[in-house]
């Protein structure tokens, strides 16, 4: 269906953001996923988040691996460069891309097979390196494109559509990312746009590795009774630790959030996250507490969602490598080549 162009016409009264773009300007091609797929809701949330953030679409690079989830970058931000890499290896491509040009925003979209099975090695290392990127896992616990096999995030005891029961322990990407040193860790649900959009905005503004694990039911292969990643199951077992609002810079805070108990978290770039806490004792800047709470809820069969951990003073890979402020891909021969005189000196030292 991707050859069917969406009509460019839109209603003249559609709201525009600060750049003068409508939400439509952030769309991509028509999705070829199944009707009702959770992934399409995530694409919509990405579009909403980028529009609200006044991001220039072409200053974002979208990268993915292989699978249903990895097809989605074609369905949002049509004016961005995209890279559909090889299965499970999006993180390394994103790392190289980011090293080449630190000025773009990097959004990686992956799935549970792509990140927790074949790509768990690269997932782990990109988290521990602190690459400045937003890493969204569209997690449905199943291989959709190859028709319904279990992935490594499928819960033990969950049933496949054909009736097979999964006996293997599940991998929890959120816990793993926390242990590996990710500096922004969140979990959400594709059906909860109100929670998801601010999380994506905050992740895009975060400088460092930002993971959002989004439970995203597969309507074709994992939305039946016995599945622990179906719409019904997730709605029943979802426990949110907080509600989030996000301002790109400190000056923009004009709204009085008010309800419940709230805390502000200031990020490196001046952006502010306001968390309305539904769990009174929860402080998302405590890594160990986050790991503990996640594990406790997991034991009860509950999915803890929201912003689970944030290191507001995070550093990224470019800081670790002490690279120059300008993108490396903008450096020319004069910047990079030491010239013949220095080479002659090197020659002299080798005699």
């Amino acid at each position: 269906m991707t050859y069917l162009a969406k009509p460019r016409l839109h209603h003249p009264a559609l709201p525009v953001n600060k750049l003068g773009y409508t939400r439509r300007d952030y769309e991509g091609k028509v999705s070829t996923l199944c009707a009702g797929c959770g992934h399409d809701s995530i694409s919509a949330a990405i579009i909403q988040a980028c529009w609200e953030l006044d991001l220039e679409p072409h200053r974002l690079a979208k990268l993915s691996g292989i699978g249903c989830s990895s097809k989605t970058p074609d369905y949002f931000l049509g004016n961005s460069h995209g890279f559909n890499a090889v299965h499970g290896r999006m993180p390394s491509v994103a790392t190289g891309a980011n090293l080449a040009n630190r000025d773009l925003v990097y959004l990686g979209v992956s799935g549970d097979g792509d990140s927790a099975s074949i790509g768990i090695g690269q997932f782990a290392h990109v988290m521990r390196r602190g690459l400045n990127m937003t890493y969204i896992v569209e997690n449905n616990g199943v291989y959709g494109l190859t028709k319904g096999q279990f992935s490594a995030t499928a819960d033990r005891g969950s049933k496949s559509k054909r009736g097979a029961v999964n006996a293997d322990s599940p991998i929890d990407l959120v816990s793993l990312a926390l242990q590996l040193g990710a500096t922004f860790v969140a979990r959400s649900f594709s059906g909860d746009k109100r929670q998801l959009v601010p999380l994506i905005k905050a992740a895009l503004a975060h400088r460092g590795a930002a993971l959002i694990d989004v439970i995203s039911p597969c309507v074709a292969f994992n939305n039946h009774a016995g599945s622990t990643k179906s719409y019904d199951y997730v709605r029943e077992h979802n426990t949110a630790v907080n509600r989030l609002d996000f301002w790109p810079s400190r000056d923009a805070i004009t709204v009085n959030y008010g309800e419940g108990e709230a805390i502000d978290v200031l990020q490196h770039d001046g952006s502010v996250l306001r968390l309305c806490k539904t769990h009174a004792e929860y402080d998302p800047t405590e890594r160990l507490a986050a790991m503990d709470l996640i594990a406790r809820h997991q034991a009860k069969g509950e999915l803890l969602t929201g912003l689970l951990y944030l290191d507001p003073g995070a550093e990224d890979l470019h800081q670790h490598l002490n690279t120059v402020a300008v993108p490396l891909n903008s450096l020319g021969t004069a910047d990079l080549c030491p010239g013949s005189q220095i080479l002659e000196r090197i020659n002299a030292s080798l005699r």
């Binding site: 991707t2 050859y3 090889v86």
Partner: protein, 613 residues
């Protein structure tokens, strides 16, 4: 008994235990000849181990400048009891054994057709030093001192080298000079006239430099403008990435800010290192990785993606003995086919074959240009023999008027002016299309990069005609590459020749020595050194111009020959493979013996002195 008597033309081999500090002493020995104007060609023969296993350092002293391995040993410095028997076997009849005679060794453990020189090294060290580490380290310098005296090496030359080595570490300088002198004194008193191998000042080194191929390739990457290096430690390639780090720290730090104009990542594995190179190349930075055969095996999938999606990537393969873990510390040219056709599906990749460190420098820089120009992976096919051994070679050169070739990149102004952009649209007819860097223009020039089939505008397609259009264009691009890669180098015989020889890479020095030896035997051959794949037409023409052509390779399966037959339309009946693949560098002796024997058998007429073979 007969004694080998030689001046400036012999082979000395040191048998040591790795981790014993012998490497720097042995290197000192090798370099002292060069300071006297005599070329040397040293080789490390080392185990895949850090401490305790046998290691050898072979120094070929060669006034004629034959830098290949010769084969045979004229003087064995036997410092490792573990390998005593096999070390003794290697000595040429009439050659010499130098050993530590502190403990007496029964006569049965020697050979009777060699000359034995004993020196009580342990005893001297134990009576001079109390510290165990000093006893070990200075033992190495003492034997270098003794050998230098016996060989008439200029003491000033060695003292100068030690001075350079310990510049700024004066505390170490004096004891080293003392140890050297102690060895010299002993030899002058007790060992005079025992060794027939002598050094005599010459003028045969010229302005050549002494560098290993990995360092030279790393410098080539610095000069070639690489900004991103992603790698995973793997012998024999690790020292390349480490040298890149070292040179960048010196040459690529912004003076004002102290910040780096480079990014080096030691990746978690080779899958990630090539992925990072592909990501950086896609995003407009010049990127490379250094690896060896096992790494190439792991990188196959990404190489296919880079070929099909047309992303620049430079891969330096420092080849070692394969398959599997193979011989990690031995040399081979056995990744030729694996690299030429890397990945599943129909692929062909550009390969460059450097002969020595100078070409490692040039080809590394050229590969970065070619990768950008051709938007495809480019391989520099080095090997352990070139990569990890210091070699005399011509000085590295850079033309300051040379700008990095970034290839066909459509920029913002062109997009703004309305230039038509199709990522896979061949506007120039050379198979190479225009690309844009991500982030160039707000509404034009963006595209989706993928490993699946696409049309000329980068749109997903499962249509047969789109697929064929695309892969045929890739073939056209490969044809274009022929005119861009280094041309082969012909060494014509001085006399008309029926036979030709094709060789590549590190075989070069041994080949040139063999050509001289063959000419003396009245066997005349024209030699063509292939420097790149795809093959230019002149390679097939060269084969057609000779009745038989020897193809010399350092692998079992005649990989370059297969590639010549497959890709250059050459009939296999015209080619005779000479294969050397035990992991040691190929020697002139091997090539000479094989070619002369086969040439004699092929000559129907008896060989007459005035007839060319």
């Amino acid at each position: 008994m007969k004694r080998i008597e030689a001046v400036n033309d012999f082979v000395v081999k040191f048998a040591n235990i790795n981790g014993s500090g012998s490497a720097s002493a042995n290197e000192l020995f090798a370099k002292s000849f060069m300071r006297m104007g005599i070329p040397v060609s040293p080789r490390n023969i080392f185990p895949s181990n850090i401490q305790g296993l046998p290691t050898w350092y072979e120094v070929r002293v060669t006034e004629k400048g034959h830098l290949g391995r010769r084969g045979g040993v004229d003087l064995m410095v036997a410092m490792n009891p573990q390998t005593w028997n096999s070390d003794l076997e290697e000595i040429e009849p009439g050659g010499y054994l130098f050993y530590d005679n502190t403990r007496s060794i029964p006569a049965s453990r020697f050979r009777d057709n060699i000359n034995v020189i004993g020196m009580p090294l342990t005893e001297i060290c134990n009576s001079t030093y109390t510290d165990a580490r000093e006893r070990q380290l200075f033992k190495n310098i003492i034997y270098v001192g003794a050998l230098s005296a016996m060989m008439d090496i200029d003491p000033e030359a060695i003292a100068e080298l030690i001075g350079e080595q310990y510049r700024g570490k004066e505390k170490l300088l004096k004891p080293n000079l003392n140890a050297l002198q102690m060895g010299r004194n002993y030899a002058q008193e007790k060992l005079t006239g025992q060794l027939g191998l002598k050094a005599r000042r010459a003028d045969a080194v010229g302005d050549r430099i002494f560098i290993d191929g990995n360092s030279a390739a790393a410098l080539g990457c610095v000069y070639g403008g690489a900004t991103v290096c992603a790698w995973y430690p793997l012998t024999p390639s690790s020292s390349l990435a480490e040298a890149f780090q070292r040179y960048c720290s010196r040459l690529r730090v912004d003076k004002e800010t102290g910040r780096n104009k480079f990014a080096i990542v030691q990746a978690e594995d080779e899958l990630a290192s090539i992925g990072m190179v592909v990501g950086a190349g896609w995003n407009g930075a010049r990127a490379f990785t250094a690896t060896s055969g096992p790494g190439i095996s792991l990188m196959q999938e990404f190489i296919g993606l880079a070929y099909f999606a047309e992303v620049p990537a430079t891969i330096i393969d420092v080849q070692r003995g394969g398959p599997s873990t193979g011989m990690p510390t031995r040399t081979q040219q056995s990744d030729v086919l694996c690299c030429a056709y890397a990945s599943h599906g129909d692929t062909k990749h550009v390969l460059l074959f450097p002969e020595d460190p100078a070409e490692c420098f040039e080809f590394a820089a050229a590969a970065l240009d070619l990768a950008d120009r051709l938007q495809t992976p480019v391989f520099v096919m080095s090997d352990l023999d070139i990569g990890m051994n210091q070699r005399l070679c011509r000085p590295l050169q850079w033309d300051d008027s040379r700008a990095h070739d970034r290839g066909k990149v459509m920029i913002r102004e062109e997009l703004e002016a309305g230039c038509e952009f199709g990522r896979y649209l061949d506007v120039d007819g050379d198979g190479i299309t225009y690309r844009t860097y991500p982030g160039t223009h707000s509404t034009r020039g963006s595209y989706f990069t993928r490993g699946t089939t696409k049309d000329r505008y980068a749109r997903y397609s499962e249509q047969g005609p789109d697929y064929i259009d695309n892969v045929q264009r890739l073939l056209k691009k490969f044809e274009t590459a022929k005119s861009l890669v280094p041309r082969p180098v012909l060494t014509p015989s001085r006399r008309p020749a029926r036979f030709g020889v094709i060789h590549y890479g590190s075989t070069g020095p041994a080949m040139h020595e063999a050509l001289e030896a063959l000419a003396e035997m009245n066997v005349h051959v024209n030699a063509l050194r292939v420097r790149a794949f795809p093959f230019q037409d002149e390679i097939a023409e060269f084969v057609a111009a000779h009745s038989k052509v020897f193809v010399i390779e350092q692998n079992r399966d005649a990989q370059l020959k297969s590639l010549l037959v497959n890709e250059a339309g050459i009939g296999p009946a015209n080619l005779i493979s000479l294969l050397h693949y035990d992991g040691t560098p190929i020697t002139a002796r091997f090539i000479t013996r094989e070619i002369s024997q086969i040439a004699a058998a092929l000559n129907v007429r008896p060989i007459k002195k005035d007839k060319a073979a």
